[in-house]
Symmetry: D2
Subunit: 338 residues, 4 copies
């Protein structure tokens, strides 16, 4: 790290910082300009994280030089991670289209959605059985009953399942059914949950928090990988900004930036990002063009009766046309969509 | 709610919305302008929440008329809620100064902090034993050992304890020691945790999420109160914006707005909001002037050796002077600080 | 518009609002729910804009029903506007690649850039002669001398010129040279400048402000079109958010949303949006896939010596490869790139 | 500045950066860690601003060490600047309450407002004659006629006038009447206007842009001071965030931070910041407590008939009570309010 001293910092203050750095087992390189002194600190990442140099007198600010994540970085692992979900591959040029209803509501609804996804060439089935809802008065999901409906749909169509886990106490039951554990945006920094799924041997789809920086998102992935589970799929789903014409602001720069910084596959959720069905196709195409390794998108047999997210769901009747366009662009971009 | 139809929406589309509304047991009042038709929908809050009218053809958007929260609203409960924490009152004109270290580190550190808080006229002791940390490589807290140190400090000083709960599985152990359960900003929408603390008879300090609207914050409180626990203290601790000169942007308008919208007490955390010790006093005073019912602030015997948040902690040696100024303004503002 | 009264608003307050509405020549439709009364207001857009109903006692808030812009809306003008810039068409399926250096620095630099753009199949040349700079100590542009260099490059290559106008007093001199007047992001709400260019018969490229909503952006375009100049090209160039890994957050949802809401062509500036050369190609492709009618991108013969924006400029030596990929995708998307 | 090289940057790339730095007349200090090399650059602020080192191969990023502003900084000018506006002082412990209508509408309206401000102990009169409006269909102000009404009110009450200047071509006429030139939030980076008012000998009230960082705000002030006009009053008026319950988010941390970083006086506009009359008093008090040198607030004889900003204007009939509370707190805080 680099410590930038205040203008007017005294020689004694500089000496105190140097002493504190050396006390922590790191080394300090002082270089003094006409007005400002800068101290380069060289040492072990872990040691330095704990050093509260900004609290010391005379210090203006501290700038990190090393990235705060390691295991998920390209520098540590240059090749793309490819994740195998029951034989469907994602990452390293393998593209996955994941689709299904926001919430699991009925057996017919799930089955009809799954058939539409399968027929359209989709690769996995999404559906929520445990739903995080802003309002305590809103539908909270069917729980295990919903998971069984998803499993039945998998049995018929062969599509692996992606579903959300919210409570560490539900891990056993959810793992019994699902193929990919989804960590929702609101739980991106639920560090306990991250630690728990880090102990499993099951792919994790980690959504970016509403106001998480790319770095914090990668740090959350680092929690999982540090636990031993390297099968993390990053998912960009829109960030919160001042704009209200769309539900969130889809940050496709983050997709390209995350793929440069990390070896993990990155997928995009254009449904939650935009909240508007008429924007889902153009943003899906944009995500593919930006380099996404997959899409996770909402489709529903009857959006006007959906218990959640109807406004942004593609009717299953229109899903084939949607998927054809998306997969065609993925092929154009050199991705394998088999 | 009010449904605003698109320009050019057909009479049939209007009729479908009306039918859908009536099917849900609510009533619809259509009023057509020259270019746009608007449909007023009157019915029960819970029924309407589940109605996905925005997904219907011809609908431009849906505007809520009723507030989505009820139990925490001023309309439902006009008088200020006053919360009793081991005899220290907060709300309804009673002001509380809560202070202590960010993390519990050692018995001496906690005890020294508690004595400083007590001596300065503070009302409660804060300190973290379970710490949410962005980096998996950072200090994660002492756990139950830390809780014991807090309890020891309470035994000596009589100050009630405020400490964070992160994991629903830790509720028993944390409740054994603490007087107020703090829900951190990252867990404001951890709905499971909200439901769990809603079942208890213990005050809850609910921090606003980094990117939570005031409405979402009150909805989170609604989860707790709906569970049966009416002892919720709201805590503004800064929101995430584009500004980088401060760690977060302290939103004091939210304090005044929350006090108008809700009967719950509101406190402010100027330490996390600013991340800078030199801003803590001015923003503490501003919070009091804006109408806050209390402050929760970081103090540490030796900030330059703190394991977390050193840069924003007030040295215990300077805490008395800080507290005197804050309490004097609270008295000026007509609050009781006994 | 719809006026939502506060819970507990009195009948007299409702009557006052109705009277105020009728006084302004509009009509009011009252519908009262169990707890809240809603008043639909029907009248002329201009009259209603000036009605300060939110200031009246008992009013909770006012919701606009009509869009605040008219001339730029799809409802008013359903077909795509196509703009002719010296024979290069943009909009309505015609795609334009606009490229060149951030600042005009030397004759050689401009000429070399123009040749590279021309050789790569680009359609117009960009370059700044009047530069808005955050720092008064930074290079502010060459002024008219720079415009002459651009004109010389147009003479040789035939590429029309796009350059920024900052000061209404410079309109004559800038118009003498340029083919498209660029209004920069910082001037999107410089209403005087908008009014001035609204009186001209010259295409205007209107950048979205750093923190402008899509609606405000369209309102700014409305200023220009209302003045009589219908040749407005909208340009998305990134908005300001909390994310710091990229210079701004490119909002491609805004591109798709603006094209649905308005008939005007929309182009994207991936260079300013990302501030990073390694992100320019993926975001350019994403913009095309999202439906952009063109791109405006920075290229420079020697980015490491550029006087501005070097870090995000594509070296002219690499521009051909970049353009080939972008134009191929535009063709895939059904756009004409001749 | 400090140049942080990428992991894996070659010795040649380091050498190129060093060469480029030395070519620009600055000196470079290389310090190499195990994984990353850092280069300290020491030289003149102006030279370094123009150095596009981030564009060079192998460079990860460049961190500024010196603040980009100089004349407005505390380091350059440690004592508070005190500005004399026709005998009313602001800054250095002298507090000013500036109030009046958003727009000048009629002679009576201005006169009535001015009398209320004067009677309440206010120090200056605000009022807009040239209005920046998002909609081209909204009231744009009375122009010179409005300025005359303000001057008449000054003649009677002795209150100096604060009014907005939008167009450099209006400088002569506006200067003929006003005592303080207000630069609105949308024009904070209208560098031409800043340069023009920098040439005058008249106080300038510089509003912070909706999405301007504190640093950019100070840079805008630097433009004015660099032109020779040292009489700049900074004005915080709310920034744009995701929160929609208030019109903007008042950033009082910025007030305290700006006063630490700069010697210029800082005032706060709680009316535009909140957009809600019921929040104006608590936020005014908060601003004073945070250290503001003054307030600029909207009052109107009849807010429900105001042509702009009615919802947030204090009725003149209530202004005395408002002012008494604000001035009492200013005195408590040690400010002179004579």
């Amino acid at each position: 790290m680099v410590v930038i001293m205040q203008e007017g910092a005294t020689a004694e203050q500089v000496a105190q910082v140097v002493a504190r750095v050396e006390e922590a087992g790191a080394s300090a390189h002082v270089s003094s300009g006409e007005r400002v002194t800068v101290i380069g600190v060289i040492g072990d990442r872990e040691d330095l994280t704990a050093l509260p140099l900004e609290a010391m007198p005379g210090v203006e600010r501290v700038v990190a030089v090393l990235k705060p994540y390691k295991l998920v970085s390209r520098e540590f692992h240059p090749a793309d991670t490819v994740i195998d979900v029951r034989g469907k591959m994602i990452g390293g040029g393998r593209f996955a289209l994941i689709a299904g209803p926001c919430s699991v509501e009925t057996e017919e609804q799930v089955m009809e959605s799954a058939r539409a996804v399968k027929a359209a060439g989709g690769h996995m089935l999404r559906g929520g059985a445990f739903k995080p809802r802003t309002s305590p008065y809103a539908f909270q999901g069917l729980g295990e009953e919903g998971l069984k409906m998803l499993a039945a749909a998998r049995d018929e169509t062969g599509l692996p399942i992606v579903t959300e886990i919210m409570d560490p106490r539900d891990l056993d039951v959810v793992c019994r059914y699902t193929d990919v554990l989804q960590i929702g945006a609101r739980n991106m920094q639920n560090f306990l949950l991250l630690a728990e799924v880090g102990r499993l041997d099951k792919p994790v789809l980690l959504k970016r928090g509403l106001s998480a920086t790319i770095e914090e998102w990668l740090m959350a992935a680092e929690y999982v990988v540090k636990g031993g589970n390297e099968q993390v799929i990053l998912c960009e789903r829109g960030i919160r900004t001042f704009e209200t014409a769309t539900r969130n602001t889809l940050d496709l720069s983050a997709v390209a930036a995350a793929k440069l910084a990390s070896h993990l596959p990155v997928v995009v959720d254009p449904s939650h990002a935009t909240g508007r069905r008429d924007l889902v196709l153009p943003l899906s195409l944009a995500a593919v063009a930006a380099g996404a390794d997959g899409l996770i998108v909402e489709t529903h047999p009857n959006p006007a009766h959906a218990l959640s997210d109807g406004p942004q769901s593609i009717p299953t009747a229109a899903f084939g046309e949607y998927a054809a366009r998306v997969l065609e662009l993925a092929r154009w971009a050199g991705r394998s969509v088999a």
